[in-house]
């Protein structure tokens, strides 16, 4: 009798340990300190699982999920405040300040780092990666599959591919080896940066851009205050080339999330609006 009680309590203890181990695999207090992991985590996390996101997620100029972000407490990505939130998982970018990451590591906080998305294929991969880290594989798989279906529907091969330039602050042009470049390509444009041997992107002087004579110049939105850097893509000499621009902002494609589909859709519309 006594032996059987002992046996059952051992089984109960083992069961509790097993459940505990499973719970340890699924983080319960997740803190994100990177704009892109913020958005992926908001899409994927279970209710209550995500305790804090970075302040950038609430900035409409850089975040595509400002409304959702209002529901979460924000952090400014300092190791101290992250540690005080007692997270069992921190989501960071691969360019998060090394000092912050080193400190979190020494404090024994587990960190998952996500590289920036460079292609549209990365979007699905990153959803699955963060999904696995959060123990939400099923949701991640569903969102990734949905994204891939919608992207395939938007991706077209038009007979005529107009030539466009992505032209941002200081005359920086994103090449095809970048997420904006991939979005442009998916929307049926050829990238002028490729003609200038800048697949990775680079600075294009105003004169060179005008000489390349693109069909469309796509510039980013302005930040408040003023900078000469942002005057460059708004130079009066470009006004006609910018006329058909899609009015995209950094928020539309700075991160590889399913929201880039909206950028693809708007560029497709801009392409169809160009008179051949």
């Amino acid at each position: 009798m006594q032996g059987s009680v002992r046996a059952s309590s051992v089984i109960a203890l083992l069961a509790a340990l097993w459940v505990g181990a499973a719970a340890a695999d699924t983080p319960r207090r997740v803190v994100s300190i990177n704009l892109c992991t913020d958005q992926l985590a908001m899409l994927l996390a279970a209710p209550g699982q995500l305790v804090s996101i970075s302040h950038l997620a609430r900035d409409p100029r850089s975040s595509a999920m400002v409304v959702e972000a209002a529901a979460y407490p924000i952090n400014r990505a300092s190791a101290e405040e992250v540690f005080l939130l007692a997270p069992d998982l921190v989501l960071a970018g691969s360019f998060t300040a090394p000092a912050t990451l080193a400190l979190l590591d020494r404090l024994g906080v587990p960190v998952v780092q996500l590289p920036p998305a460079a292609t549209l294929e990365d979007v699905g991969a990153h959803l699955r990666l963060i999904g696995t880290a959060l123990g939400r594989e099923a949701v991640a798989e569903e969102l990734a599959a949905q994204f891939e279906t919608e992207l395939a529907a938007l991706r077209v091969s038009p007979d005529h591919r107009p030539r466009a330039a992505l032209y941002g602050a200081n005359g920086y042009s994103s090449g095809v080896q970048s997420l904006p470049g991939q979005v442009l390509q998916a929307a049926g444009f050829d990238n002028v940066a490729t003609e200038l041997d800048m697949d990775g992107g680079g600075m294009i002087a105003l004169e060179q851009l005008i000489l390349a004579d693109p069909d469309l110049v796509i510039g980013g939105s302005r930040y408040p205050g003023h900078s000469r850097a942002e005057d460059v893509p708004r130079h009066p000499a470009l006004r006609e080339l910018r006329a058909g621009g899609a009015g995209l902002s950094d928020a539309d494609w700075v991160c590889g999330t399913p929201h880039v589909l909206q950028a693809v859709a708007r560029l497709v519309a801009a392409r169809e609006g160009l008179t051949p």
Partner: protein
């Protein structure tokens, strides 16, 4: 001394040649004949767009700003009778930059087209006023330069502060533009903003020639000749503030032009302030055109700042002038 007509002709020819050269230099290698034809004839092509909207405003601004800085240097040196008086060195340009930066970052500049040059002008007025108040017509070089150092340091610090506090992520990296100056990627809008103030202020300064000539004989003699010193001072403050303010508002603080150019031309005009005024305007235009050509030839890919080139030319001369006038110092 060179005959005034010969000097005017040779300086004008130099400005004209450098102006054309400036139009022909840029990151896009354009055929010379066709690009000049496109400049004159216009049209819809990219060539006309580059020539008329990018290179022409740049060259015109170089002429206007060079003339403004050369002229204001000559005028201040004539009034203070001190070869070290130069808008960049004594903090006028730095204060104008502060005014411009405040107007731009607060958004006043985008609310009204005149706000930017007027704010820069106000910044310059404060600095010129302070300098004249501190150094005065009889102040020593030491007072002048020390007052200038203090004003430059303060204005530069506040410019950095305003740009660091800006919500714009690119603003802080542009501190170097406001301190060193550049004509890269300026447009016809900038010409339209600066030209009226530079032309108006320039006319005021050129009209001071007779008064400054009289002043070389001493203040009493000048007053006896019917020159109103208070009016001369007011015109000088407004004229310098207008031309330096407008120049700085669109191109940042370009130093040393007003120091180097009058120094080079002083003997050619027989040290007569009235002649030095127009000669320095022409010489300043030539010098800034040349410096702006140099920044594009030396480092075409990077936006090398005009002030860097001017400092390389001007700072040794400045040291030389200090060496020569050191007898004045206590």
């Amino acid at each position: 001394m060179i005959a005034p007509r010969a000097l005017a002709l040779s300086l004008s020819a130099m400005v004209a040649a450098l102006f054309v050269a400036s139009l022909l230099i840029g990151p896009a290698a354009l055929p010379v004949g066709e690009s000049l034809a496109a400049l004159v004839a216009g049209g819809d092509g990219p060539l006309a767009l580059i020539m008329r909207e990018i290179r022409l405003p740049r060259a015109v601004l170089a002429v206007l700003i060079g003339a403004a800085l050369g002229l204001s240097g000559a005028a201040m040196q004539g009034y203070l009778r001190n070869p070290l008086a130069e808008p960049g060195l004594i903090g006028v340009s730095a204060s104008a930059a502060l005014g411009a930066v405040i107007a731009l970052q607060t958004g006043v500049a985008s609310a009204h087209v005149l706000a930017l040059p007027v704010a820069a002008l106000l910044g310059a007025v404060v600095a010129v006023g302070l300098i004249l108040g501190l150094a005065g017509p009889r102040g020593s070089s030491l007072t002048l330069i020390l007052a200038g150092v203090a004003i430059s340091a303060l204005a530069g610090a506040f410019t950095s502060l305003v740009l660091n506090l800006s919500p714009n992520p690119f603003a802080a990296s542009e501190i170097v533009f406001w301190m060193m100056g550049s004509l890269a990627d300026r447009s016809v809008l900038h010409v339209a903003i600066a030209a009226p103030f530079i032309l108006g202020g320039g006319a005021v300064l050129l009209a001071l020639g007779r008064g400054l000539d009289a002043l070389t004989l001493g203040e009493d003699a000048a007053a006896a000749m019917g020159v109103s010193l208070s009016q001369l001072r007011l015109m000088l403050v407004l004229g310098v503030a207008a031309v330096v303010g407008a120049s700085t508002a669109v191109a940042g603080a370009v130093g040393f032009v007003g120091l180097v150019v009058p120094h080079l031309l002083r003997r050619a005009v027989g040290a007569r302030p009235s002649r030095l005024l127009w000669a320095s305007a022409l010489g300043g235009a030539a010098m800034v055109l040349a410096a702006d050509i140099a920044v594009r030839l030396v480092l075409p890919e990077r936006d090398l700042k005009l002030g860097v080139v001017m400092a390389i030319v001007g700072a040794p001369l400045f040291l030389h002038l200090i060496y020569r006038t050191r007898g004045e110092f206590p």
